[in-house]
Symmetry: C2
C-alpha cells in the first residue's frame, strides 16, 4: 500500500470521486489527502500543483468514457444502429443516481478561461466526441453529417445537464427517442440505400 503506483492510483481515485461529486474548487487538497490516506508530500510529488491533478483526472475520465463508448458499439457493424445503441446507453446512464452530469462540462464551467489547462482538456474532449458522432452520422448515411452530429451532441449534453440538475428520474430518459427521431429524419429523407 505504500508503493508508488498504488499511491498515485489511490490519489486519482479519491480525487475522481470528490471532484465529480463536489466540484473542483470545492474540494481542497487537504480533503483528498485525508480521504486517500496518503501524505501531502506524496500527492505533491506526483502532481506538482492541484491543476496537474485535475488535468490527470480529466484525462483519466476521458479514457474511461472512450472505453465505455467504443465497447458499447464494437460488436455492431451498422453505424446507424451504433448511434442508436449509444443513445440508449446514454439514457440509461443519465437517469441513474450515480450519474452526476458531465465532469468536463463542470470543468469548463468552473474554469471559464479558454487558456486554462482544465478548460482546454475538456474542450478537446468535447470536440472529439462531436467529431466521433459526426463520423458515425456520415457512416450512417446522413445527408448532412455535421448537422446530425451537432444535434446529437446537443442532446447528449442536455442529458448530462439534466442528470446533474434534476437528479435521477429526470427528462434525460427522453434522449434516446429524441436521438432516434433526429437520426431517422436525417437519414430517411431519401429511401434507405445500401452504401
Amino acid at each position: 500500500m505504500t508503493e508508488t503506483r498504488s499511491a498515485r492510483e489511490q490519489i486519482l481515485e479519491t480525487a475522481a470521486r470528490l471532484f465529480y461529486q463536489y466540484g473542483y474548487r470545492a474540494v481542497g487538497v487537504d480533503t483528498i489527502i485525508a480521504e486517500s490516506g496518503v501524505a501531502k508530500m506524496t500527492l505533491y510529488r506526483h502532481f506538482p500543483a492541484k491543476d496537474d491533478l485535475i488535468v490527470a483526472y480529466l484525462e483519466r475520465s476521458g479514457a474511461a468514457f472512450w472505453n465505455w463508448l467504443e465497447t458499447l458499439i464494437k460488436d455492431e457493424p451498422d453505424a446507424r444502429k451504433q448511434l442508436e445503441l449509444i443513445y440508449e446507453a446514454v439514457a440509461n446512464r443519465a437517469v441513474n443516481a450515480a450519474c452526476l452530469g458531465c465532469t468536463f462540462m463542470a470543468a469548463a464551467l468552473e474554469f471559464p478561461e479558454f487558456d486554462h489547462r482544465a478548460h482546454a482538456v475538456a474542450l478537446e474532449y468535447k470536440k472529439s466526441v462531436l467529431a466521433r458522432l459526426t463520423e458515425l452520422s456520415r457512416q450512417a448515411g446522413a445527408k448532412n453529417p455535421e448537422a446530425l452530429g451537432g444535434g446529437l451532441m446537443l442532446l447528449m449534453d442536455g442529458a448530462w445537464s439534466a442528470a446533474r440538475m434534476f437528479g435521477p428520474g429526470s427528462h434525460a430518459d427522453k434522449v434516446s427517442d429524441a436521438a432516434k427521431t433526429l437520426i431517422a429524419a436525417a437519414i430517411d429523407q431519401t429511401p434507405t440505400r445500401p452504401r
Copy 2:
C-alpha cells in the same frame, strides 16, 4: 445616487456580470465591492450573506429570461410557431459571444447539494422552463407533449452548454433545425423539412 435603491441595483448589476462570467465561488465579495463602488457594509446591509446575493441574482436572471421568452412569442398565436420562434432565438443567442451558457446550470454545478438555496432556485427555474415547453407542446398538438417538451429541453440545455464550452461559433447553431425536426415528428407524420 447614494440612495438605497440605486446602491442595491449597482451591486446586483455588478454581481450579475461577475458571477455569470467567472462563476460564483471564483468571485469574492471584495471584488464585487470594488467593481460596484459601494462600501462593504452597504452590500451586507442589503444582502446579509453572499448566498443571499447569489439567490437575488438568480431570481433577477430568471425574471429576465421569462421576459425575453414571453416577449418573443407574444405576437404569435400558433403554438407550434411559438416553439419554432423560441428555438430560432435560442440558436441566435447561443452562438453570440455574449452568451456564456446558462447561469442556472452553473449554479447547480457549483452548488451540487439539492438543499442549497442556489441549487433549489436553479432547479425551480429549470422545472418551470420544462413545464412551459411541455405546455406549448401540448398546445401545438403533440401526441406526447411530455416527450416533446423533454426532448426540446435537452436541446436547449445542450445549446447553452455548447456556448459555454466552445464559445461563439459552436454547434449550438444546430439547435433550431433539430428542434424543428423533433416538433415535426411529434406533431405530424410528414415533417416540414428543416432547411
